[in-house]
């Protein structure tokens, strides 16, 4: 499983996006899906910096991916505070943006753009976020 470790700061978001974008291209996703994966990874990494670590340069983000026959699994692992997605109130995207609190969109985007989003908190091991995206037209000889 290819792995790269990035210091958790906003300047590295571009590198993190590029890391996963290259993997998605290698997996055979079209550019629209590559963008979805980049965006989900960006929102995930920004949330880790903002919420798990509570600021920049207070930890690392370990990024890895695994090719699946019908898609890709991307993993972001941090060592910050535990994150419980159940505590995040989903944004009401039908309401006036001015009346909304500027938060909650990151997780919402991740869930909309990826097919599976799963968080696990591993005690001292930190948070492990696993996101999967499936190809719309998997290869014919897929085992599915």
């Amino acid at each position: 499983m290819p792995l790269e470790v990035f210091p958790a700061n906003f300047k590295n978001l571009e590198k993190i996006r590029d890391f996963f974008a290259q993997a998605a291209r290698k997996a055979g996703f079209d550019e629209e899906a590559v963008y979805d994966i980049e965006m989900a990874a960006d929102e995930a990494a920004a949330n880790i910096i903002d919420h798990a670590y509570g600021g920049e340069n207070l930890g690392i983000i370990e990024c890895s991916y695994e090719m699946m026959q019908d898609g890709i699994q991307i993993v972001l692992h941090d060592h910050g505070k535990s994150f419980d997605p159940e505590l995040i109130v989903p944004p009401d995207v039908t309401s006036d943006p001015c009346s909304r609190k500027p938060r909650g969109l990151g997780l919402y985007f991740m869930q909309k753009l990826m097919d599976e989003v799963k968080f696990t908190f591993n005690g001292d091991g930190g948070n492990i976020l696993i996101m999967k995206k499936y190809k719309e037209n998997p290869v014919e000889n897929s085992s599915r």
């Binding site: 300047k11 978001l13 629209e32 965006m39 943006p97 001015c98 500027p102 985007f109």
Partner: protein
């Protein structure tokens, strides 16, 4: 990310070249603040060269629109919005909040 602002007769044209994420969004916020603190509330944001925008960038745009529309003193128009950026705005439910134009020329002419 590069930001260019061009004062025109009836508005300010804002062009961004590059990626707007949590690293660069504060720079965009500062630019919007400079424009509105200078007393200009009619802004056209030409997004043709925006390659990426995250929720951090989308919220900067909402804050700018809020400031522009206050007291009916102006508005932030969007122009030449790439499909992926449009899709992100749509997913967030922000599209009804903006007038979106096919070109900056058209947007500028609408003020």
């Amino acid at each position: 990310m590069e930001i260019k602002t061009t004062p025109l007769k009836r508005c300010i044209l804002l062009e961004v070249d590059g990626r707007i994420d949590s690293s660069t969004a504060p720079q965009l916020a500062d630019t919007f603040d400079e424009i509105t603190e200078g007393g200009e509330f009619h802004i056209v944001f030409d997004m043709s060269k925006v390659e990426f925008i995250s929720s951090a960038g989308l919220w900067v745009m909402v804050t700018a629109q809020k400031k522009c529309k206050r007291f009916n003193r102006g508005e932030l128009y969007l122009a030449s919005v790439p499909k992926r950026i449009y899709d992100a705005l749509d997913l967030a439910g922000f599209i009804p909040y903006y007038k979106v134009f096919d070109s900056a020329t058209e947007a500028v002419g609408s003020f």
